[in-house]
Symmetry: C2
Subunit: 680 residues, 2 copies
């Protein structure tokens, strides 16, 4: 035995001695080396490609001579001729060990390869999808030893892949016999293993080697927007992404309006269920078309959403979520068939996984953020804020995580704002106001120029300047505050007080003219007193939620802040702190996680272990119900003011700080804010 | 401890000492006594009724004094007032042990009670259905410790019933919240535990105690007829039974015609699938209406059928079953949702169980017969024949069981017979022919009089005499043979040879006039030469199958014969042996099992353990494929003759035997039979 050749795999470093003639794939399997194979060593799939190295390897203590692997055989030659084999590569199932050898497994040949991550804060994705393809050779039927084709397929899976506990839904039984015969008793099957299960379901069957791939959707089902990534389940690549409006908008902009709609209108919940399912089916089909893949190859969906969306999607009346004690029908993860959600157009056997909900107001979207940002694995105390129509807030570190949800409303998404619009070309997304002249400049989505730059009009002539999106209104209000146009209570000063004609009277209040587009046929875009109030309400809710968690944790500052949410990606941390949206923290400790909920969904899509992970994590998160916490109301009222009249990060500012000004006699100041709230 | 009162349960004889104050139900549970309870001891369901006995019990060594049980409490008094408690009965959950006591558990309080059996040969049914109801008290939601209603229900099931591994389909999640609140946090759930599974699925949920019952259907899906029993899943009672024509008949009378239809007509299999599913849904609804139960309380279906029906029901193209090697898509039992088979109208969560198939030609119906008649448990060698459009044949004893299927065709069911009809009022089912006068007399279904009895015309004036059913044609042919009207080759003699004008010329052959109903406006009913040939072919197939198994077993006689099948119930064993349908056996050893397949289905419906039992048994049965066995053809040809010209059981006969006559020159005799077959 000791004279058998030594086989060393890189990068794992795993090594062992194998008899001359052992296929490389066999050696890899026996050593537990992560080397892919779909065809089971038949030289068909080419997934087991390896790169042998020759020469001296003092580090490994071997010298690899020419001839350490068998010569190319007919299968490799044919494969190279037909498909082409990269220089230096061998098929692991064909090349056999002849002498001491060092063999590298390139990333694309690893089953559990890592997906390149986008956001620095997000946890990396290691591929281990719940659904994968294996090819088997099934014994032909023998009428003297009768057994079903399915039973012989199961025997083949057990013998060739050591996979047991396999079941097949009816849709597969109906396709199995022709597939086996067309494939001349070789078939590929898509096997799905749910989280926390030892069992496998067959979701697809194809004659011979299936080369069409398997795909999955990671869906972030928001109150306002449904966003989805179409991913390749072999390597996690995002092939297409899209977002569409949630058609439930017409039944109510925010969650509670939709709950009310369900309560007031018999069948209203069923109607909302129908439209959101239709929208998701449409989105799936569109993404498949965009990526030019067959939608019938979409076998998995992972959905994250808030609890009301969760119940409406599942066809559960959300009435209990509209009133204390905000009881969920189910808080655990939900696994079901896509057809149970009327998701047609994709694979008829496709499976859906909904992440667990954290509490009645803290949904599977927050769980996805927790999966992506992993506050429970953070050494320092991190505040994770997912800004959307509702804000999901997590605070914690390795010692424990707290969670709550805060009803910010849709103002941060440009709704309830006089010139508000959703993020689209032509929407103002960046604003600066000169504290001396009080003149603004801005950028719109789709154009890199400032509005004051030469060529801006030409560059934006297609889109025009059409309104203000969520990040734009936050910057506008913060800049107005810093330029002395707005006082701490949120009141906009008139032209006399501010010294600029852009402070226009509007009824009994004032508005600031951000852009007069009438010359170019566009709208006049103003920031009105109502807009300021809407932003104040939204940011107070957000801040109050964060403060509540900090109280519970017994801290008055956090080490770092992560802004998540599709919208969070575009918020300027500086302006957010000027507004008092989030507790103060060193600016370099405020990061954007992008669409963390979507990333969490993608993690759960690409790796079934992450599903088990988040299910365990969610059970350990301490849930805080803001709706009945007296301190939440208190923080909410106290947070109404716009605290920073000066740029809190002057080293980053191009504009000088201003004194804290206050306008008018009525309604101003922090007391005014509190009183208004009480009257409301 | 030794001074604690002694509690003795009858009929089990289980005994133990329990502290004063122990509820009887608690004592029963601790001793493993089979005492039912749905409400879990809340004094609501009354399922735990027991009958205490007082006085001296020398056999048990105790004397039971008055006061050995606690006095009636308020719960029992209320129950008695509202619902009435039978004399001498107590509620086991309320009455507590106060002294030595003997307590009888009446059959209706036992979970695993036995169902009274109809056919002597059939194995008894002990209740242990896969679906049962339990009531639980669920903790109310607490917003400070948020958890889903489903999760709290699961905790309650674990704590109150020690039931774990529970899942709920979407349809239950959608109903759970209102049920919990309407029931004030007490709900009943229908729990389903599939065969070979540790897991439970919730199939139904109701506020408070569910008193509507649970029901199941045992369905025998035949090529010609779909027969179903509606059973109460608490005690196994059959509440209603019905049979309807299989609407696939219009695509082909026998199985192979339907397979051909599927092969020749694109979409033909889907069409046959649709019609049979529709018929089953209709049958379910009709049975529920007849039994006056809510069809939505039908939670389980057990279906037995031959392989072609099996595949067509499941929507699997049966093409492979039409050609060697007759490969089944799946041979194992199939468990699926009723809605997968479009079975609407019943509980939307209802489950379907199909028994395993034995081989490509020996289906789940044969498995059900094996379950009911248990040849594998027989000490003597038993031949079980299930006579239908196909005959399923089992031969065996405790040393092993052989199985095959034989294509008898539909002649035994009255099809392919000139005056044939299905068994219905007006159909001739019994025939006697006087060997001297050659005059017949007969009975029709729905009338106990012989046709020669006074009052027959009056008694049958509603139904008339409309045709001959399966059992009638067998008796007619056998009686014709014994009366010397037919020779050993099956040829009908003319009037000259037979001496009766009832032998009418018909083309180049003769026919025997059984009944001239023209006076009463009815049809003339004749047994034609074609009819004899059809019966000869059918009986030859049946006999050949049985002989083939006997060859394999190495025997030339069997100890006993069981005739199964709805039709088998009506066959006269004597006439069957006159025709040579079955191997000769002592007449008292030939019994009818009634609809054994239906009984097997009912066993699997009422007891989930029987499902596991038949799955194990089927794996051990040796399958013989008649279609490719040369000896089957040989036996088939040799079996064409009608062997017994004399009554083989003269002691039972009222009519004297006749000499073996033979008519005509051409086509007669055993050789003739063989030659005809070869030409065909």
């Amino acid at each position: 035995m000791s004279t058998d050749p030594l086989v060393i795999f890189t990068p794992s470093g795993k090594r062992g001695r194998f008899p001359v003639g052992t296929p490389v794939l066999t050696a890899a399997r026996q050593l537990g080396v992560d080397l892919d194979s779909v065809c089971g060593g038949r030289g068909i799939c080419s997934k087991c490609q390896v790169a042998p190295s020759y020469g001296d390897f003092p580090k490994h203590g071997v010298t690899v001579a020419e001839g350490a692997l068998s010569d190319w055989n007919a299968v490799e030659e044919r494969y190279d001729r037909v498909r082409g084999l990269k220089e230096g590569r061998r098929l692991g199932c064909q090349a056999t060990v002849q002498g001491d050898i060092v063999i590298d497994v390139p990333p694309e040949s690893q089953v559990h390869r890592q997906v390149v991550r986008k956001a620095a804060s997000a946890r990396p994705i290691t591929m281990d999808p719940a659904t994968r393809v294996v090819m088997v050779e099934v014994e032909e039927p023998d009428m003297h030893e009768p057994s079903g084709d399915l039973e012989r397929l199961k025997v083949a899976l057990k013998e060739q892949w050591q996979i047991e506990g396999v079941t097949a839904p009816l849709a597969i039984l109906q396709k199995l016999q022709p597939a086996l015969r067309k494939g001349n008793w070789q078939v590929s099957v898509a096997l799905h293993q749910p989280a926390n299960s030892e069992e496998f379901q067959i979701l697809g069957v194809w004659p011979g080697l299936h080369e069409g791939g398997l795909y999955g959707l990671a869906i972030d089902l928001g109150s306002t927007t449904i966003a989805a990534h179409l991913c390749d389940l072999s390597d996690g690549r995002v092939l297409a992404s899209a977002g569409i409006m949630n058609p439930q908008i017409r039944f109510g902009e925010d969650l509670m309006s939709r709950v009310s709609y369900a309560m007031m209108n018999p069948g209203g919940d069923a109607e909302m269920t129908r439209v959101v399912r239709e929208a998701m089916a449409t989105l799936a089909t569109e993404l498949a078309a965009e990526a030019e893949i067959d939608a019938a190859l979409i076998f998995e969906l992972v959905i994250v959403c808030n609890p009301v969306m969760h119940h409406l999607l599942l066809g559960i009346d959300p009435v209990e979520l509209g009133q204390a004690p905000f009881a969920l029908a189910t808080a655990d993860s939900v696994t079901l068939a896509a057809r149970d959600l009327d998701l047609t157009g994709i694979a008829p056997t496709a499976r859906v996984y909904l992440l667990p909900c954290i509490a009645g107001h803290v949904g599977a979207d927050a769980a996805a953020v927790a999966l992506s940002e992993a506050p429970d694995k953070s050494e320092d105390l991190v505040l994770v804020v997912d800004v959307g129509t509702n804000a999901e807030i997590l605070l914690g570190d390795t010692h424990g995580v707290l969670a709550c949800s805060s009803p910010t409303g849709p103002a941060f998404e440009g709704a309830q704002i006089s010139s508000g619009q959703r993020a689209a070309p032509g929407a103002i997304e960046r604003v600066e106001i000169d504290p001396e002249t009080k003149e603004p400049r801005f950028k719109v989505i789709g154009c890199d120029l400032w509005s004051t730059d030469p060529g801006f009009a030409e560059a934006t002539k297609d889109s025009g300047v059409t309104g203000i999106c969520g990040s734009g209104i936050i910057e506008a209000v913060a800049e107005m505050r810093m330029a002395g146009l707005v006082d701490a209570s949120g009141l906009i000063g008139g032209a006399e007080a501010t010294g600029t004609a852009r402070s226009e009277p509007q009824g009994r209040t004032h508005a600031y003219l951000l852009h007069d587009g009438t010359e170019a046929g566009g709208p006049r875009i103003l920031v009105t007193q109502g807009d300021i109030r809407a932003i104040q309400l939204a940011k107070s809710a957000l801040y109050a939620g964060a403060r509540l968690l900090m109280d519970k944790r017994g801290v008055d500052k956090v080490d770092r802040v992560v802004l998540a949410g599709a919208f969070g990606a575009h918020i300027s941390p500086k302006h957010a702190m000027v507004l008092g949206m989030i507790p103060d923290a060193p600016l370099e400790k405020v990061t954007s996680a992008g669409n963390a909920a979507g990333h969490g969904a993608r993690m759960a899509l690409c790796n079934r272990g992450e599903r088990e992970q988040i299910e365990r994590t969610v059970r350990r998160i301490e849930k805080i119900e803001t709706a009945v916490e007296p301190r939440f109301q208190e923080h909410f009222v106290n947070a109404n003011a716009l605290p920073h009249a000066v740029d809190p990060f002057p080293e980053l500012a191009k504009i000088a700080p201003l004194p804290n000004v206050r306008f008018g006699a009525s309604g101003g100041g922090e007391d005014g804010g509190r009183r208004r709230r009480r009257r409301g």
